[in-house]
């Protein structure tokens, strides 16, 4: 691709589609969505953005307790990272899809990644672990890895990464994941605050 093409997206590229989706979100769902789903935060990489929807709480909590909490946020896995356009295109498309389902209260009890999402995630696993899964020298270190990894999805073996083995929106009863709208910061209860001031 030459420089011009890089700067000015090709007509056939996904740029147009992205624009269409942005417009769709803004005009179609408008203020309601903005308020309801904290739209602005949805554009960020903060996992809290995803918990704007309660149906995402189970996956948030399982991620929060997984080996990947410190390394990979939702978007590191669920959004393409091959180029910046693709990233936002995918996010916008996804966002619209999720939002529609959510607004219609059509969310299924147990969700599944759509095929497109699966491909994205698989590619992201590989993106981070490319050395471990492609270097011949790890053949001895991790037996059969080279052979097996090519034919299956990573998480068919690594089931615990990152959402555990139990799925479904009713798997969590007391949903107390942090809420992005919750601005109250104090961890000291007010009675103690008061006591300490008067001491």
């Amino acid at each position: 691709m030459d420089i011009q093409n890089k700067l000015l997206p090709n007509k056939k590229s996904r740029w147009r589609t992205i624009a269409v989706f942005f417009i769709a979100i803004i005009t179609g769902l408008g203020l309601f969505m903005t308020k309801e789903a904290e739209l602005v935060s949805y554009m960020s990489d903060d996992p809290l953005a995803c918990v704007n929807c309660h149906v995402m709480t189970p996956v948030y909590n399982s991620w929060m307790h997984s080996s990947h909490r410190e390394w990979a946020s939702c978007n590191d896995c669920h959004v393409p990272h091959n180029n910046i356009f693709n990233k936002y295109y995918f996010k916008a498309k996804d966002g619209l899809f999720h939002a529609s389902v959510f607004t219609l209260r059509a969310e299924p009890e147990v969700m599944f990644m759509r095929e497109a999402s699966q491909e994205v995630v698989q590619n992201n696993c590989i993106r981070c672990h490319v050395q471990q899964v492609t270097q011949v020298k790890y053949d001895g270190y991790i037996e059969d890895h080279a052979k097996n990894r090519t034919e299956r999805q990573c998480w068919s073996c690594h089931q615990e990464v990152p959402h555990g083995t139990v799925h479904g929106i009713s798997t969590i009863k007391s949903n107390i994941a942090p809420i992005p709208t919750d601005k109250e910061e104090a961890v000291i209860p007010s009675w103690l605050e008061k006591e300490m001031e008067t001491k």
């Binding site: 909590n61 399982s62 555990g164 009713s170 007391s174 961890v187 300490m196």
Partner: protein
């Protein structure tokens, strides 16, 4: 909005009041957490050096009796057990003696601080310094619920919360604001309310005489920083009965040592290992059976480590064994030093001649205790623990070489005969404890006073009632 809707998608059974001390009340709303919390009462699991089983440490390692001569710990010291046992254990411990009523007994009220959710309730009702005032026995009828929900949770939001002032004050002293703590940090800080080194400050301006609970963190949390702090304020917990050294007692600096380990460095919190996520009947929740993670390797470790459970256990034991090996040797030297110092006094040594030696003993035993009392530390942070033990070796070597020269000067140029401390009984006799008497007064206390406490508490709690949601909302 719908987010909040979801938050209460379960039907709360009761409205939990502020500082509700009764865990069972919380349990009505959060049965999975409560059921798992109840399991901390279990005392059947033992590991190489931990677990929930009752283990008499003075019996397992009789050196301890000599090291703590003149101090409560030489009377009785057991392995920590699950949180549900906290009230029972402090009541049964010979350290708290056999008070006959208000104003009696060896221990201050401050001892209750880390044992119950009745503590924040009382502090709220009476005030903090007032809570710390008086004898341990004075508040026996007020504190009956073992460590539980209100110690860590806000009753309205269920958010993690800091209910103990000492930790907040320690952060202040370091110039930090605990309200800035992240969610991840809170998953360790709730534990740091109790699993930390502490002392009783009786000189707090305006509260003179009150044994005010303090964490000595002003200069930092390393063994050196705390030592420096104590030296500067010339604090000592007690004077050793044999060596007459001004001693420091290190109590479970678990959080402080954890922070120096690789897990903390990688953002792993106490709750990640001691309260892992659990699935039961299609439900996921935080396992409130806080215990040795070795009883639960699959949830506690294998989330992050793919090794065999047996291998992971071996990793833990390996680090613990290597640490124990040197810790026990250091202990042996400390026992010798105390006995040698006693010999020197017996032979007429002067204060002046003993001064440096006693400081060496103080500092070396402080380092040993910092490594020994921080129970998980030989796994949480094996390299720092080894460094601390090494520094103890250094100091006690200096001390014992000085002692050898002093003893020679006093006419005793040979190895000092060591007492027979092959059993706990012999060791306790050697340091002059009348265990019979201690056990007797404890038995009487349990027969006479404790039932009264429980009755008074029952009476008091019966007035709290349960705030049924339907009635209140």
């Amino acid at each position: 909005n719908r987010k909040n809707e979801a938050k209460y998608q379960y039907v709360p059974k009761v409205n939990i009041g502020d500082n509700e001390p009764r865990n069972a009340e919380w349990g009505k709303n959060y049965p999975a957490e409560y059921q798992s919390f109840l399991q901390t009462a279990d005392t059947s699991f033992a590991t190489y050096q931990g677990g929930s089983a009752m283990r008499d440490m003075l019996d397992e390692d009789t050196n301890l009796v000599v090291l703590w001569a003149g101090y409560g710990f030489s009377k009785d010291y057991s392995q920590g057990r699950g949180h549900m046992n906290a009230i029972k254990d402090i009541t049964n411990s010979l350290r708290t003696g056999g008070p006959k009523g208000e104003g009696d007994g060896p221990m201050p009220a401050t001892c209750w601080t880390c044992k119950s959710p009745d503590v924040p309730r009382l502090m709220n009702e009476k005030g903090i310094a007032e809570f710390y005032s008086g004898k341990w026995a004075d508040k026996g009828d007020e504190i009956v619920n073992p460590i539980g929900c209100a110690d860590c949770h806000d009753s309205k939001t269920m958010k993690l919360t800091i209910s103990r002032p000492a930790l907040v004050e320690a952060f202040d002293a370091m110039g930090k604001d605990i309200n800035q703590a992240t969610h991840q940090e809170m998953r360790s800080l709730v534990c740091a309310q109790c699993h930390v080194e502490y002392y009783f400050d009786k000189k707090l301006p305006g509260k003179e005489g009150v044994p005010y609970l303090k964490l000595p963190w002003e200069n930092g949390m390393s063994v050196e920083a705390m030592e420096e702090y104590y030296d500067a304020i010339e604090f000592s917990d007690w004077t050793h009965k044999l060596s007459r050294a001004p001693m420091l007692k290190a109590q479970h600096p678990g959080y402080e040592t954890y922070l120096t380990g690789v897990h903390a460095d990688r953002g792993v919190s106490c709750a990640d290992c001691h309260m892992p996520y659990k699935s039961e009947g299609g439900q996921k929740f935080t396992d409130h059976h806080i215990q040795s993670p070795l009883n639960n390797v699959s949830n506690a470790c294998q989330v992050c480590h793919r090794e065999d459970a047996d291998k992971l256990k071996m990793n833990v034991y390996d680090r613990q064994r290597k640490t124990a090996e040197n810790r026990l040797k250091l202990e042996g030297f400390l026992v010798k030093a105390h006995v040698e110092a006693k010999k020197a006094w017996d032979l007429g040594a002067t204060e002046e001649q003993m001064k440096d030696i006693l400081m060496d003993i103080r500092h070396a035993q402080w380092r040993w205790d910092y490594a020994a009392a921080s129970h998980g530390a030989s796994f949480h942070s094996p390299v720092e623990t080894a460094r601390v033990i090494g520094s103890g070796f250094t100091i006690i070597q200096d001390g014992r070489v000085k002692l050898a020269r002093l003893l020679a000067e006093l006419g005793h140029n040979e190895a000092v005969t060591m007492p027979d401390i092959s059993t706990k009984e012999k060791a306790q006799e050697y340091i002059g404890l009348d265990m019979e008497a201690l056990r007797k007064e404890k038995a009487e206390f349990k027969k006479n006073l404790v039932p009264k406490w429980l009755e008074a508490a029952k009476e008091r709690e019966s007035k709290y009632g349960a705030k049924d949601v339907s009635l209140n909302n």
